[in-house]
Amino acid sequence: MTPTELPPFLIFYLAAFALLLSRGWLRHAVLLLTPLVGFLNLLGTVHGMHWQITIFDYGLTPYRVDSLSLFFGYLFHLAAFIGIIYALHVRDTMQQVAALLYAGSALGAVFAGDLISLFVFWELLAVTSVFLIWARRTPQALAAGMRYLIIQITSGVLLLGGALFQVHHTGSIAFDYIGLTGVGSWLIFIAFGIKCAFPFVHNWLTDAYPEATPTGTVFLSAFTTKVAVYALARGFAGTEILVFIGALMTCFPIFYAVIENDLRRVLAYSMINQLGFMVCGIGIGTELALNGAISHAFNDVIFKGLLMMAMGAVLYRTGKINGSELGGLYKSMPKTTAFCLVGAASISAFPLFSGFVSKSMVMVAALEQGHDWIWLALLFASAGVFHHAGIKIPFFAFYAHDSGIRVKEAPTNMLIAMGLSALLCILVGAYPWALYRLLPFPLDYTPFDASHIIAQLQLLFFSALAFVWLKLSNIYPPELPSTNIDAEWIYRRFAPSLVRILTFAIHTIDSKVRNAAITLTQKLTRIIYQFHGPEGILARTWTTGSVALIAMVLFALILSITVWL
């Protein structure tokens, strides 16, 4: 193993260890240098399997480099670098170590060439990231983190089970195209689906991410779900069911996002919506669709990260994150506001901002493959995402009615991180070719043609017009302090109450059976007592004569029966 073949995860793990031994400016240096060193290391690698270990006759390949893994490798280094700058003011060893280990695990997962290595990093992702939630140190965060951990570990266990089936079935542990062909592949598919927040198994995301620390959520939003997108792209590209799952994911969360009060939870719902576009693209499976899905993953990490950072800065400064309590912050946090607007324009796919090209690729691919209804659903979701993430987030946090809150602008390191992301949103948006050269497939797509730009602008401006009209005519639902129940209700309310009802029923039946048995025993005892008790007929002392008489009668009886037979 030459130095250029150092697996990326190892650099992050070693750095996490080095953090424990350092403090002050040295620790800052370690934090900032880690992704830079990792990135340089990555630039030096060539495609191929770089590292092989044999365990129990199975050759593990924990470091496989190809264009797909490399793309996500670059992305994760970038995300880690931005996240680290954003969190540089944090004085919490637990969070810093967890963040590096978490980023390292994400890198480990995308470079894993076999299912067993993938499983190991899959679980490490869960275990390291939960500390970013627990680091908030509130009872809610503790509980949400525990639920998050249980669900994430379940996903890992399913992956391991699926991998074992798959190995038995194919004889190989390599992680390549899997496709839905048997029990093992389905288990792996569900494991990926949980981490990718498929409908009904999505609530770990909307439950836990908003409970994490302001900086923790920025890391969380970058890695876990994108590892799942990567895994789906490698294992299940062109699997048709993903088209429908993806379309559903783009549509249902936006209804929740419109009425959700916690603005970071709005972003969590919005994240599922964006993941939907990627999942849909992977399901369509053409080169254009896959390129679209993967580049959208890149863009989402940057613009969703930017929006999370802006909301994190608001939470950090004001201590509040509910839309109903915020407003008017553009007066005291103008720079954060400006960066947030860039993020909002990008997620809404405004032309010249980063979401535009990648989202269009998926939608054009859907049309080309004859998925007309899916295309209409994606178009609906595009209008919807502008509505809740593009308008609602900046509007209720920074404009709307003035909440009277006056705070300082976000700390410099946060502003630098947000500025860097905003710059990337505009760079990738205006000059997409630099990024798209890194994509796994050759790209034959004209990003900026007049028809497309006009269509998108019409869609967005008239969506905004709808917002203006609904708001001015007071039809728009106000932000209300509330909890909106979702699929999580099944395991947080329904299942527990079902268990309670069942326990009650079992308890009732059990006590009835016991009571009946006791009454029966008491009755029997009473009868036996009647005959055998001190006054009972069978307990009396009989005379020898009467006993002999009884014996004789019995003898005669038996004798006569025997003779008669």
């Binding site: 509980a143 936006i254 209804f255 929740y256 419109v258 009425i259 553009y330 007066k331 054009v364 049309l367 080309e368 007309d372 295309w375 178009l379 609906f380 209008a383 919807g384 509505h387 404009y399 043609d449 007049a450 028809s451 006009i454 269509a455 998108q456 602008l457 019409q458 869609l459 967005l460 401006f461 008239f462 969506s463 905004a464 017009l465 709808a466 917002f467 203006v468 009209w469 609904l470 039809i475 728009y476 639902p477 209300l480 302090p481 509330s482 909890t483 909106n484 129940i485 979702d486 947080r492 309310r493």
Partner: protein
């Protein structure tokens, strides 16, 4: 106390006026410029504008109605 951009109601009115103007211009563009299309439905004049507007109104009204079924008090899960 500093007066900020939108403290002046005139600025809001000005912003909205520009906004309406752009909307109108985008709609009119459909009559002048012929977008090349992939799907028949795109040929409808003002399709994208209409679809965006209707989508968002439906989205908001549906979400508002959804509140009746799914909205609980903020402390709903607190007993967990």
């Amino acid at each position: 106390m500093n007066r900020h951009l939108f403290d002046n109601r005139l600025n809001i009115a000005r912003l909205l006026r520009w906004f309406y103007l752009i909307c109108a211009a985008l709609l009119l563009l459909d009559f002048i410029y012929h977008r090349h299309i992939t799907h028949q439905i795109e040929a409808i004049l003002g399709f994208y504008g209409l679809y965006g507007f209707v989508s968002c109104v439906v989205l908001v009204l549906a979400a508002k109605a959804l509140r009746k079924f799914i909205m609980r008090s903020q402390s709903y899960y607190d007993s967990d």
